[in-house]
Each structure stands twice: as structure tokens, then as C-alpha cells.
Symmetry: C2
Subunit: 179 residues, 2 copies
């Protein structure tokens, strides 16, 4: 059951409606009675996948991220589309970005990527028993597939060479899950 909002909305103003994010500004009442505003970035639910191939590699992807003006090494991920279950989105993103299909896909955890200002909920999956096929990246994505051994990825996380929060959280959770 949803608890009643501790910051009930007095009024809401839509600033922007986009393809990846939208932005609204809510005027809210705080528990103490004061009013303030909350800037809220709306983003669809998303999925992240930790794909482990038959050699024990994590299949990572490298892509350019305009927001941070650099190429980052990440786990495959993307938005859940309308009418799609998170597990279906995970299979689709895995296939589009890496070419792999997973015979085994298990939910690991769900988390909010930036709950201070963004609605995005990310569903994390562990994908195993991979079979390969062709990649089908979105037309505006240039994605390089980079399989790296689990041990080396853990080293890279530790040394700060994986710079993406969802990838760090997903990889370390998968590592604990697999014991």
C-alpha cells in the first residue's frame, strides 16, 4: 500500500516533454507546513543487464555519452518501452546492444538511479547461457561490445575505471549473488 505523500503536491508545472526525459516543477507542502518547490526529471523505468558469457566474461559495452562528453564502459541498459515487461526489455536491450540472447535471465534488484530529482527506476538482471547473434543498435547509438573477465571488471570497478553508477552497483551485486 502506498503511504500518503509526505510532500503533497499543491500545483505542478510542466516545463518540458521530451523523448528521453521530461521536466516538471511541483510546489509541495512540507511536513512542517512550509511550501517549497521540487524540480523533478521524469524518466521511464529502465533495465540494466549483467551478461555473463560462457567464458565467464561480463559482456560490457562502450559508448559515447554526450552528457559527460566521454566514452564510458557500462553494462548493457536502456529504457522499458510501453507495454513491455522489464524482463522483455532486458532481453531486447541485451540483444540490440551486444547481439546476445540469454537462455537464463534472473532479476537481481531494483534501484532508483537519482532519487533526489529523477523518477527513473532501474531493474537489474543477471543474464546467463548466452548465444550470439547480430547487434541491432539504435540508429543514434554507436556501441562497441567489450567482453572482460569478471575478475578484471572487479579490479576496474575498484580502481575507478568503471565510472557509471548503475554498472558499479549491478556488477558488485551480481558478484555477491554469484558468491
Amino acid at each position: 500500500m502506498l503511504e500518503p505523500s509526505l510532500e503533497p503536491t499543491i500545483s505542478s508545472r510542466e516545463i518540458y516533454r521530451g523523448s528521453v526525459v521530461s521536466l516538471r516543477v511541483d510546489k509541495v507542502r512540507l511536513p512542517a507546513g512550509l511550501e517549497t518547490i521540487r524540480e523533478i526529471v521524469e524518466h521511464s523505468d529502465a533495465v540494466a543487464v549483467v551478461p555473463i558469457d560462457t567464458n565467464g566474461n561480463i559482456v560490457m559495452v562502450r559508448q559515447y555519452r554526450k552528457a559527460v562528453e566521454q566514452r564510458l564502459l557500462e553494462v548493457p541498459a536502456g529504457g522499458v518501452e510501453k507495454g513491455e515487461l522489464p524482463e522483455e526489455a532486458a532481453q531486447r536491450e541485451l540483444h540490440e546492444e551486444t547481439g546476445y540472447t540469454a537462455a537464463s535471465i534472473e532479476p537481481l534488484v531494483r534501484f532508483y538511479t537519482s532519487p533526489g530529482f529523477c523518477t527513473e527506476l532501474m531493474h537489474v538482471f543477471l543474464a546467463r547461457k548466452l548465444s550470439s547473434g547480430e547487434t541491432k543498435p539504435d540508429p543514434d547509438e554507436t556501441i562497441q561490445v567489450v567482453p572482460i573477465s569478471f575478475e578484471r571488471v572487479l579490479d576496474m570497478v575498484q580502481r575507478g575505471e568503471i565510472k557509471d553508477s548503475k554498472s558499479i552497483a549491478s556488477i558488485l551485486l551480481a558478484h555477491r549473488f554469484l558468491g
Copy 2:
């Protein structure tokens, strides 16, 4: 050295300039020559702190997050203010949110919280040798301080009871760092 942008900006439109986030839409040229737009949420650099008290507890904070309409258990965190070093911001946020001051504060890692659409870079610190004082939350924050044993926090992460990406990544990184 910064590599040249793989997606050079053709034009940029400011949609909103706010107190926590701003939003711009860039028209960019893709490597293949096509043009597309990138919606980019601008957010200041931020800090997250894993504070470990003398009893071996992680000092967590619980607060309401309007974007996801629920109270979340997180590590202390917040934005780096103008003119502040990340380490100073970490000490300030730790003190404001928990009342503690750390005699030892060590950088663990830096990561982007949502590099697909947001500029936010988060600096993660491990804080030890804590001494207590009074909390000084922002006027629009209601924060409850919740010390929890490290082992129990790890269980909560595993069971999906910590629902915040930066907290999951920071806690698991601190655990590995401490061996």
C-alpha cells in the same frame, strides 16, 4: 587531455535553469554524419559519504524523496557548492545530515549517476573516526539518522531494501575497500 567530442554540438537550447537541475537540448552531429538531439540534465557535482561510527555501524539517513514519492534509506549525500572542494562538501553534508564530524575522510571513487542524460559526477568518500554534534539539515529536508551495522546493511542491499543506486554502489565499494 580531453578527447575531441564524438558528438560535437551544432546548437544548444536552454529549456530551464533551476536550483537543483537545469535542462538543455543539444543538437549534435553523430560520427556517421547524421544529426540528432540530446536532452541533457545539468546537475552540479555531488558527494556521497559512507560514515562508519566507532561501533562499526554505517550511519544512514532516511528522507522523503518527492521524485519517487517515498522515504528512502541512503548514505549522506548532497551537492558540492561553489568554491568548495569535494572533500569539504563531504564533511559539510555529513555534519549537516548526521551531526557527525569525521577525523578521517578518504576518497573511494567517483562515478556518474545517470550518464545517459545527466552531467552529475559523484565523489564518494569513506568517513571514519566520527565524533558527534548537532545536525543542521536544510530547511526543506527532514532527515532521520539511522545507524545500522555494516553486516545488516549488506543484507539489506542484497535483499533490495536499499533502493538508491549511489548508496548501493558506495556501500559495496566501501566493503571491498575495507576488505
